[in-house]
């Protein structure tokens, strides 16, 4: 007998070889990233460069009403040229300019030798001349030039066509040049009047960012890269996912494979591993290609340069103030700009290669996403009979992945917390961004990865259930109806693992959304209780019950609806009486292990406020009885029944416990709630009755609730007010002994009747 891992490996090896021999996969995986992206980017950069150059080489036609206007404009352009020559000279001595302008063409100015200034004939309207496209722009000064006195202010009227790019360009440049000219005139006037230009800028604003240039650069990448990577991973995984499932079905090889003595789960595991491998190979190649492209095209300098415009150091501010008094030919704005640009270029030079260094971390963060994408695609494609059908199914999957990624990309303020922790795809996109920015919180990262892995496992299990199913395998065997129509469903004693995990995978994010909607401080306590109770019933208890009924799954067996034996009942009551002090001590001990597990006081107060109002009965119903019953039905009922018999009972206890813990939204609660979940699963499995775990669960919630309310109960349990220390006295030991006795009774005393295995 082969062991299962060896079989999965055999399937993996064969599928990988076959996939890599496929030209279509190679095209999508290798040719596109290695050839197409760089080619596209080079074309883009080249086009940008050409366009900038071309605009500068172009001759621009400016029309003015008379000679005085022409002379004035020539004077302005000559002063501008002088300034630029000075700047260029300064630059060439210090630093070689990069090939591509870091400010995306900002530097491009109007060269006076490329400008024709034409005087309009008498009677000709500038408006008509420009409108008939004889000239790019017309300029009229009011009052007209010539009568220049110190205190005369001119209004410059431009006449241009903003639909003509050249007309627009020359308008834009002249506007800037005249801005600089205005600066010069102001400066002259102020110096003449006061002898100093220091009064020109009474308030200088300057922003200093503590982020290093590398972090600033990462911020830009963090916006772009997750979205690009998500798209690439999906594209990479899509073809093998279709080919290994629907493609195999279409070519008739699925039947051959289905008839070989290999469990479907192992075939699916092998295929799934190939899809993830190809997705990751594709991501790695794309990322490598992107890094190389950015490096060689110097795109990073362009991007980072533009961003660093805003960051200045303190020295630059002082220098700027000093310069205000220094005699200068150029305007302050241009001087300052030149200086900034030099800094930028020096910084950009240091950052080259950042993408290459960040690549491995990003690649690592992409693994869970590739796992999830591969699993979902495998599940969806397993449903398809033909390649074409699978391609159609893929569209919504792609949209569902790309849209959240795109939305999150455009919401830079979103952090990895709350609902987002468990929101498929979006959580990974934000995680990658946080990794880029160096902000990732380990416990948030843990939940994000855990929930992603959980979704992935659920999807793989669903894929295994669908894959090789007769309705999918043979188109002549009726239709999918046999999967969904109640009449054709064969009664089952328990839900199958795929169904149990799928149930939780669907309810998980839905319930999270709902909970985050509930945690609204403005909510009235009474309404909060009703909504909470209803949501528990509708989202946690109703779906498993309805699904089990519809699929003809034995309700008694699935939900362990049995009357417990008297001894088990005694055990349950012992545990119910002692669970609060025991869990309190264990909770304090866990909190002492890591600050991550210490409860959030603010949150606690907010909840306590909602808890303390209203009648006692309403409170107990909403926070103890309803959750106790509903959560037990889902976790100890449906989920436990689905896993039982497929994995060992010990594994059932661990899996259900951890999922129960993660289901409770707050990170700091996970360890203690997981432990509670494990204990509840253990006693339900051993007693064969959900009543036992319900009693302990309700007792835990209600007595815990009472302890927050009543001093007497706290004293009875011996709970210290100081939550920072663990006080183990005689009373706590007594409760612990009662708890352990109850647990031992339930785990050691056998059930009265045996259930079907």
């Amino acid at each position: 007998m082969l062991n299962r891992y060896r079989r999965v490996w055999i399937v993996y090896k064969k599928e990988l070889v076959e996939t890599l021999r496929d030209r279509r996969t190679l095209m999508a995986m290798v040719v596109v990233p290695i050839v197409l992206y760089p080619a596209l980017m080079l074309v883009l950069v080249e086009a940008l460069r050409k366009e900038t150059g071309r605009r500068q080489e172009e001759r621009y036609q400016i029309v003015v009403p008379d000679e005085a206007h022409a002379a004035w404009l020539q004077g302005v352009l000559a002063r501008d040229k002088e300034l630029h020559e000075e700047q260029d000279a300064a630059q060439n001595t210090t630093h070689k300019s990069p090939d591509v302008d870091p400010t995306m063409g900002l530097r491009a100015t109007l060269r006076s030798d490329k400008v024709d200034i034409v005087v309009a004939k008498p009677g000709e309207s500038l408006w008509t001349l420009v409108d008939r496209q004889k000239y790019h722009i017309g300029i009229v000064l009011s009052p007209p030039p010539g009568a220049e006195h110190d205190n005369v202010n001119h209004v410059v009227q431009f006449i241009y066509r903003d639909t003509d790019p050249r007309s627009e360009f020359v308008h834009d440049r002249l506007n800037r040049i005249l801005g600089a000219e205005a600066d010069r005139i102001i400066r002259e006037r102020v110096i003449k009047a006061t002898g100093s230009a220091a009064s020109l800028e009474p308030i200088l604003t300057n922003s200093l960012s503590t982020a290093s240039p590398a972090q600033q650069y990462a911020k830009i990448l963090a916006m772009l890269v997750p979205f690009l990577l998500v798209t690439m991973t999906i594209t990479g995984a899509m073809y093998p996912a279709i080919d290994l499932t629907a493609g195999e079905r279409e070519r008739g090889t699925l039947e051959t494979l289905a008839v070989s003595p290999v469990p479907v789960g192992q075939i699916v595991a092998g295929k799934f591993s190939v899809i993830v491998t190809i997705a990751m190979l594709s991501t790695a190649l794309n990322l490598g290609s992107m890094s190389a492209m950015v490096y060689f095209s110097k795109l990073d300098r362009i991007v980072s340069g533009a961003n660093l415009m805003r960051a200045m150091d303190k020295d630059a501010v002082e220098a700027r103030i000093e310069k205000l008094d220094a005699p200068s030919t150029g305007s302050f704005t241009q001087k300052y700009y030149l200086e900034q640009r030099r800094t930028l270029e020096a910084e950009a030079e240091k950052k080259v290669g950042f993408v290459t260094r960040a690549a491995p971390i990003v690649l690592l963060a992409m693994v869970p996403f590739a796992v999830l994408a591969g699993a979902v695609m495998l599940a969806v494609c397993s449903f398809a009979r033909t390649f074409k059908e699978a391609q159609n199914y893929m569209m919504p999957v792609m949209m569902a992945s790309i849209i959240p990624a795109l939305v999150v990309s455009y919401m830079p303020t979103i952090r990895l917390e709350g609902v987002l922790l468990v929101m498929p795809v979006a959580n990974i996109v934000v995680l990658i961004r946080e990794l880029f920015l160096g902000n990732a919180n380990p416990s948030a990262m843990g939940i994000c990865l855990l929930s992603t892995c959980f979704y992935a496992v659920s999807a793989v299990v669903v894929a295994a259930k669908l894959y090789g199913h007769e309705a999918v395998l043979f188109s002549d065997v009726g239709s999918y109806k046999s999967l969904l129509v109640r009449r054709f469903i064969r009664p089952e004693p328990r839900p199958w693992p795929a169904l149990a995990l799928l149930m939780l995978a669907v309810l998980f994010p839905a319930y999270f959304y709902w909970q985050s909607y509930l945690v609204d401080p403005g909510e009235s306590a009474a309404r909060f209780r009703v909504v909470l109770g209803l949501s528990q019933i509708l989202l946690l208890a109703a779906p498993p019950i309805v699904v089990a009924w519809y699929l003809k799954i034995d309700l008694r067996e699935t939900f362990s609806l049995r009357i417990p034996s008297a001894l088990h009942m005694v055990g349950a009551l012992l545990m119910a009486a002692s669970i609060v002090p025991v869990s309190s001590v264990v909770g304090q001990w866990i909190a002492s292990l890591s600050p991550a597990f210490r409860s959030n006081d603010q949150l606690f107060e907010q909840q306590a406020k909602l808890l303390t109002s209203g009648s006692f009965a309403a409170m107990l119903t909403a926070f103890a009885v309803v959750p106790g019953v509903c959560e037990e039905l889902l976790f100890r009922g449906f989920l436990t029944a689905g896993l039982r018999g497929r994995v060992s009972n010990r594994m059932v206890v661990v899996i259900v416990g951890v999922l129960f813990g993660v289901f409770h939204i707050y990170i700091e609660k996970i360890p203690i709630v997981s432990l509670l979940g494990m204990v509840l699963t253990l006693i339900c499995l051993n007693s064969g009755s959900i009543a036992v775990s319900m009693i302990v669960h309700i007792a835990n919630n209600s007595m815990g609730l009472l302890a927050t309310q009543s001093e007497r109960i706290r004293d009875f349990y011996g709970l210290s007010h100081d939550t920072g220390s663990i006080a183990i006295d005689g009373r706590v030991l007594m409760f612990a002994a009662a708890f352990v006795t109850g647990l031992l009774i339930i785990t050691l005393v056998p059930r009265k009747t045996t259930t079907t295995p």
Binding site: R7, V17, G252, T253, E255, T256, L473, K481
Partner: protein, 265 residues
């Protein structure tokens, strides 16, 4: 070796009803026996064979392969089984040798056993010419030989062949029939379905005649001849399923049953 008991399969139809594709079929096949499952298109032969192979779950009834239930313990049941159909595809981008190695490894044979078995099958089925070419480029006959080799990799005691000679040229047809006969002689329990009744007459020791999901006749050729008072298998079949008159009206005497598939099945 193969026990089929009251095997029934209901399918949902597009109109919302359900169709009884296979209706209470029971038969047994002993080791060394070649059992012919005969019937027109849509009679339920393929569904029956798929239920026996564990590919389709019966609505009721059961099939046992060498004592193992085909549904309750699918993997163990399939270990006793070689399965071949006319529509079985091959992996286009693997060579026959690689394909055989894959299935050999999956069955659990060790490396040396896989190599030896492949060499034996390549020699026996005369595959050396194309054993290293990609399956995508093989002719229909070469593909079918590869498929036979694939079904025989584990040397299973039971063989199920659904239309194994459909669309084959005379030469390959001969190879396939010889191979079935030889495997029967080696003591394998073989169930084959076919349209070609002449072929079945030559090859099979017992027959099951299926019409509209039900077994209308079962037994050896002399037994069936005795029951229907007819000589040829095609006549026996038409007589047993009550279609004789209709066919005689058409002035038939056709060698295959496929032409009658339109007559209500």
């Amino acid at each position: 070796m193969v026990e089929v008991h009251a095997l029934t399969k209901l399918f949902p139809t597009t109109e919302g009803g359900e169709k009884r594709a296979v209706d209470g079929i029971t038969f047994h096949v002993k080791a060394g026996e070649i059992y012919g499952l005969l019937g027109p298109n849509g009679a339920g032969k393929t569904t029956t064979l798929r239920m026996i192979s564990g590919l389709v779950t019966p609505t009721s009834g059961y099939a046992r392969l060498a004592g193992v239930d085909a549904v309750a313990d699918r993997e163990a049941a399939k270990r006793n089984l070689g399965y071949l159909t006319a529509s079985t595809g091959l992996y286009q981008r693997l060579s026959p040798r690689e394909l055989l190695q894959y299935f050999g490894e999956l069955i659990g044979l060790d490396r040396a056993a896989v190599r030896k078995r492949i060499e034996d099958l390549v020699r026996w089925l005369d595959m050396s010419e194309f054993a290293n070419l990609r399956c995508g480029g093989l002719s229909t006959g070469q593909k079918q030989r590869t498929n036979i080799a694939r079904a025989l990799m584990g040397d299973p005691p039971i063989l199920i062949m659904d239309e194994p000679t459909l669309g084959l040229d005379v030469l390959t047809n001969r190879v396939v029939l010889d191979f079935i006969r030889a495997e029967g002689a080696r003591g394998k329990a073989i169930i084959m379905s076919t349209h070609y009744l002449d072929e079945a007459e030559l090859l099979c020791s017992r027959f099951g005649l299926i019409h509209e999901g039900r077994l209308v006749g079962e037994g050896t050729l002399p037994e069936l001849q005795e029951r229907a008072k007819k000589k040829r298998l095609s006549e026996i079949f038409l007589s047993l399923c009550g279609k004789e008159e209709h066919v005689l009206d058409l002035g038939a005497g056709l060698g295959t049953l496929s032409a009658h598939s339109a007559s209500g099945t």
